[in-house]
């Protein structure tokens, strides 16, 4: 098992286009949306990192930007990393799908599309997962809920 600082150093050499910082818990990489798929692909394929598990894929609304957060893990080398990306276009947000790298991302990405309206390019079957088309995107911070009462 690598120490977090060692892992960060390794990440910086292998994916230099990402900004790697040592977070409180994990190594955190910030990636531009256009580099996302190539960065995650290399994180998985590189034998020194071998992030072969996509633990969690989270859609975020930071208020101004939208974003997607990927938690990756390697059981073989026993380490974790977080990849973050931000999209500034709120009207028509789109990002590359990582289904070709992790097939398990398919449902996760549909969920994010459903609840935050982020489109995933090259997703095999991008439809809404839980809600029907009459809904807005409820996890967005500017979502107005006229029907239900949200406790404040």
């Amino acid at each position: 098992m690598m120490e977090k600082s060692q892992l960060c150093a390794a990440l910086t050499t292998i994916v230099p286009e990402a900004v790697t910082v040592e977070g409180k818990q994990f190594a955190e990489l910030t990636v531009a949306p256009q580099n996302l798929r190539s960065v995650i692909g290399r994180l998985k394929e590189d034998p020194g990192l071998s992030f072969d598990i996509l633990v969690c894929l989270t859609g975020m609304d930071y208020g101004t930007d939208l974003g997607v957060v990927y938690h990756l893990r390697s059981y073989a080398l026993n380490h974790m990393a977080v990849v973050k990306t931000r999209i500034s276009d709120r009207e028509n947000p789109a990002i590359d799908s990582i289904c070709s790298i992790y097939p398990g991302a398919e449902f996760h990405e549909r969920e994010v599309y459903d609840l935050l309206g982020i489109k995933f390019n090259d997703h095999p079957d991008l439809r809404r997962l839980f809600l029907d088309s009459t809904w807005g995107y409820p996890l967005r911070k500017d979502y107005k809920d006229d029907v239900n009462i949200v406790l404040k």
């Binding site: 996509l54 609304d61 839980f130």
Partner: protein
Amino acid sequence: MEVKEKKVGLENEEYIINMGPQHPSTHGVLRLVVALKGEIVQRVEPHLGYIHRGIEKMCENLTYQQIIHLTDRMDYLSAHINNEAVCLTVEKALEIEVPERVKYIRTIMSELTRIQSHQLFWATFGMDLGGLTCFFYGLRDREKVLDIFEESCGGRMIVSYNTPGGLMNDIHPNFQNRVKEFLKYFRGVIHEYDDLLTGNVIFQERSKGMGVMTKEEAIAWGLTGPTGRASGFSCDIRKHYPYSAYDRVTFREILFDEGDVFHRYLARMEEMRESMNIIDQLIDNIPEGPYTAKMKPVIKLPEGEYFQSVETARGELGVYIVSDGNKNPFRVKFRSPNFVNLAPLNLMARGSKIADLVAIGGSLDLIIPDIDR
């Protein structure tokens, strides 16, 4: 009069049937759209959202103590472990060390939760495959665990016993005796489970070689829990990232290579036995002390993000909390095990018979509220 020749035989045409949302074998409101050719499944497409309550959205308007009660309603059979996941995340963020007593009690309760969840799995899985007897046997034994919960937690199923910093209240004075009594009882009757199902030829015929997931597929799809471990994927969070008192006990991670329905079932059977071993090691050594750490009435997490995984009865539950320093979280994400385990259902069921789809779905032990959240 000319009689038109009736066209019989749609064997070569594909047709679509809806299984659910109200189908007894889906154990909840899961709708599977199944494309069939004759009896053979061509495609399965889960349609979700029938019990989507927007728990993640609700969390954004609730305090951390209140969130605990929502997590019960996700995977209701692992209620205690879900509570623990949020508590551990909050404690990690606040850098609070909970008392030893709490760690021990949480671990024992978690393992009891796992046992009763697998008992219900066994009961309903047998029923899915046509053996109604299993249901009565399984629920008979599960009641005994629920009685233990009721005595200490007040609730039987959705217990909400954990709270950030510790427990709601101390265990009942009877707790240790009741648990030991239960273990003694359950060790005596667990062979009935094997007699009824495991060794049953009809059951084995229906489950062996069905819905196979290889280790590579399990890793690629991120399957966890007994479903992943039956494929030989070592993914037990209790082993890899021990929390609470799991670093103090020795136990075996149940791994099989076959990855079929039968071995997913077997993994759960073995896990029940391992859970009993874990409880054995802890039940007599619960340290004295307070049952909760000193906490402020209003919990505000420092700005930042926190992630914690726990092993529920179905796999890895990850809690990801982003805090902006307020008493409500900025964003909460639950990485629920059932959601991930359901995704490759199409891959597993393709090419099998429609009746086997019930077996495959049953072996994933799906809890629908955990998928929809």
